[in-house]
Symmetry: C2
Subunit: 453 residues, 2 copies
């Protein structure tokens, strides 16, 4: 029943990331009787979730991010909105092993600030920081940062690539052994190992060095989630972990093979990139009970809000279309300034299953395009094992529909089954996020001598 | 002996802010035998300091910031470099009452990001966030943010003023009672109380609202430290607490009177602005022992490093001048792009006391222009009382020369004397930073009805 792939002497095990949300990933989670909506922004709620995930030996916690909301959206949509790096810096203090992955956009930040804040979190957490790199995709966000429209897709990725180059230079600007700290001579650092690299490019001019010595991981783990052509190439070039939304095993296998081969084309080892599809588990004593739980959440959705969310996501206003008609013809993927790959996934889903707009909205209410598995703990574990062993995933980005109840169900019922099958760790063996994911510390581009980390 | 000024029925008491540094404010602190330089970036060190300050009922903790270092500077200068908001977010979790003031520059950030991060910290800490507003003043910093030179003084302040306007709009964009969270109807927020304000100015275009409901203090406490003409006007218009470097009682009194009258000219109440000069205490059993401690630290300085620091501070290269000659003629204050008021203070100090460059460097080694008081705990308490009761200060920004030893000396020996004299609280009476400083919550500019906070 349990198929294990062996890589050398190392048994391949899967990775689990908890995608944190305040009350749950389902858009109606806040209305569920179990949700304490009045505490939505309370830190103690996040602390409890983080500690629960760490007790279960999960690899990491992850926070997504957007840079806008609107008067329309807040009417029906629960907003917590704590800035990810701020919240993860606080969570670093109440956890000791679990990784901490924050989403920050390259379109609305400066490399020096971003490099420093992640290096600070990596120091604070003793090597547990990860950066989920996004380029952001909506006009609403752009309008909070001096633009009228979101810059075009390929321009955002062009800026992102230079942003990454500069950020990597900043993280490498202190070699590991640059600190001398010799009280007798008064020499603090060997400044032949501290680099003013003077980057001058199309988007950025940054002298360096960073004003913070090298952090425990050298550089934080780099995570990426774009699945468009630009996004996949970017991921293949830079990412060490990839979040992705995949609705079927076949699609997930195709994505997995595609990205791993792109990684190899950039001269990197495919094993050094971990692919983690999102999964929205809904667990019941029986499959019927799980489906019933899902239906109960679906009943709490507001179609007007769901439609607004979908319109924002694909960058196309759907508010004038009848809910019981089909998804209308959308602009070609390349015409979409925003999240191209998600728009494509949604179009494919509606077409393949011949969904009305109303049905589509419900399919997206739980995971915004990520796959929902409603079933028993055994069924969920079987599905994860199948994807893991059949070339579709190296692990999963877990998106509980409800925090109160749903998250506990996954951790208390599914994780032990994965452990019993030998698919998931029962103790942490590493201390850093990179160690949890089995990834090497990249070499320092400025180091002349071999590096010891 | 103890002169108390009464304001109505409220006895006026002073405020104490701890200016946090890793190993101490003296530039040679890291070389002192008591300093654990190998732990300079370790969070547990900051945690211990923060908790010690909170046990002593101090009003707040404060972190300064710069956005650059250089190969020259790191050779001799200890760098810790954790980004202030990151560190204070972590400290928020291990403290419960003390205020948390982070320095962030308006020249190298975007209002939306800054407003959100401070609101996040204010939520996390349940109303303890403060922002020390700086415009930054060195070319080295500008060169990490796409500039060749630091923008001119008045341009930085022009951007800062618009930055503040936008940031205040963002913090006010959610009225206090905008959240409905009604599960039955599915209405999350009363969006007539959430504002898309569409700011369009010279430097910024920001639509709003913030994607985070109003924080406990409404807006974080606004702190400012510029003492130039531009800086004082900016402070009078916006600041609720002001840090300042003053070398003599007379100068401090003049600054105090000047700023309070400017505050009144902007139609604000002078009592609603708290002025806090920096003080570097060095405490001994006797005055002679304190002076000996100071001399011991001075002996550990490197003149080359001190000179580099001074050159950076005043924006004028002094490396070719003889150490035993006088401070050379400097450009007129208005010609200085960087920190004008500090340059003026340093010039005045050298002139008034007829100091050689070498002597001047030692006078600046401890507090970079802030006043050092080396004496017994009784003498330090007397000096603080004198400034407080004679119209020079509403409290103090405490800058221990050494963290190990010096900070404890102040808290264990000076604070109890101030408490015995009825000059400082023995218990917190408030919960928010604004309550500690006795400052009102400002009205929301978008609220139509009277606000209840």
């Amino acid at each position: 029943m349990c198929v294990l792939i062996h890589m050398g002497n190392q048994k391949r095990t899967l990775h689990l990331n908890l995608f944190l949300s305040s009350l749950g990933h389902h858009e109606a989670a806040w209305r569920h009787p179990s949700s304490r909506v009045e505490d939505i922004i309370d830190f103690s709620r996040f602390q409890r979730l983080a500690q629960k995930a760490e007790q279960a030996k999960l690899d990491s916690l992850f926070l997504a991010d957007r840079y806008a909301t609107s008067r329309k959206a807040v009417k029906y949509g629960a907003i917590s909105g704590l800035e990810p790096l701020t919240l993860l810096s606080a969570l670093a203090v109440v956890t000791s092993r679990i990784g901490l992955i924050a989403t920050v956009s390259t379109s609305f930040n400066e490399p020096f600030n971003l490099a420093r804040r992640f290096a600070s979190l990596d120091h604070l957490s003793k090597g547990r920081a990860g950066w989920n790199i996004i380029t952001s995709g909506t006009d609403g966000e752009a309008q909070n940062f001096n633009y009228e429209r979101i810059p075009e897709h390929h321009l955002r990725y062009e800026r992102a690539a230079e942003f990454l180059d500069v950020t990597l230079k900043l993280w490498d600007s202190w070699e590991t052994d640059a600190l001398i700290q010799d009280k007798a001579s008064g020499i603090y650092a060997d400044n032949s190992k501290v680099h003013e690299f003077n980057h001058k490019g199309k988007h950025f001019a940054v002298r360096g060095p960073l004003n913070l010595p090298r952090s425990p991981q050298g550089r934080p783990l780099l995570v990426q989630a774009g699945s468009s052509e630009d996004g996949k190439d970017f991921a293949a070039r830079y990412a060490e972990a990839i979040f992705t939304a995949q609705q079927s095993l076949a699609d997930a296998q195709a994505f997995y093979a595609d990205v791993k081969s792109r990684v190899a084309r950039y001269g990197r080892s495919p094993e050094q990139v971990v692919i983690l599809p999102g999964i929205c588990p809904i667990i019941g004593e029986s499959e019927a009970e799980a489906k019933e739980k899902e239906a109960q959440l679906h009943e709490l959705t507001h179609p007007a809000y769901s439609l607004l969310q979908l319109s924002n996501r694909i960058g196309y206003d759907l508010s004038s279309y009848p809910l019981d008609g089909p998804l209308p013809e959308l602009p070609a993927t390349e015409q979409i300034a925003g999240h191209q790959s998600r728009a494509q996934l949604i179009r494919n889903l509606a077409e393949r299953e011949n969904l009305t707009l109303r049905q589509l909205l419900l399919r997206l209410a739980g995971g915004r395009g990520h796959r929902t598995i409603a079933g028993t703990a055994e069924q969920v574990a079987d599905e994860l094992e199948a994807w893991f062993t059949q070339g579709a995933a190296d692990g999963f980005n877990i998106m509980p529909q409800l925090t109160n109840g749903g998250l506990e169900d996954f951790i208390d019922q599914v994780v032990p089954k994965l452990q019993q099958r030998g698919l998931f760790r029962t103790e942490y063996t590493g201390h850093t996020l990179r160690e949890h994911y089995g990834l090497d510390v990249p070499a320092n581009q400025f180091a002349s001598a071999p590096q010891v980390h």
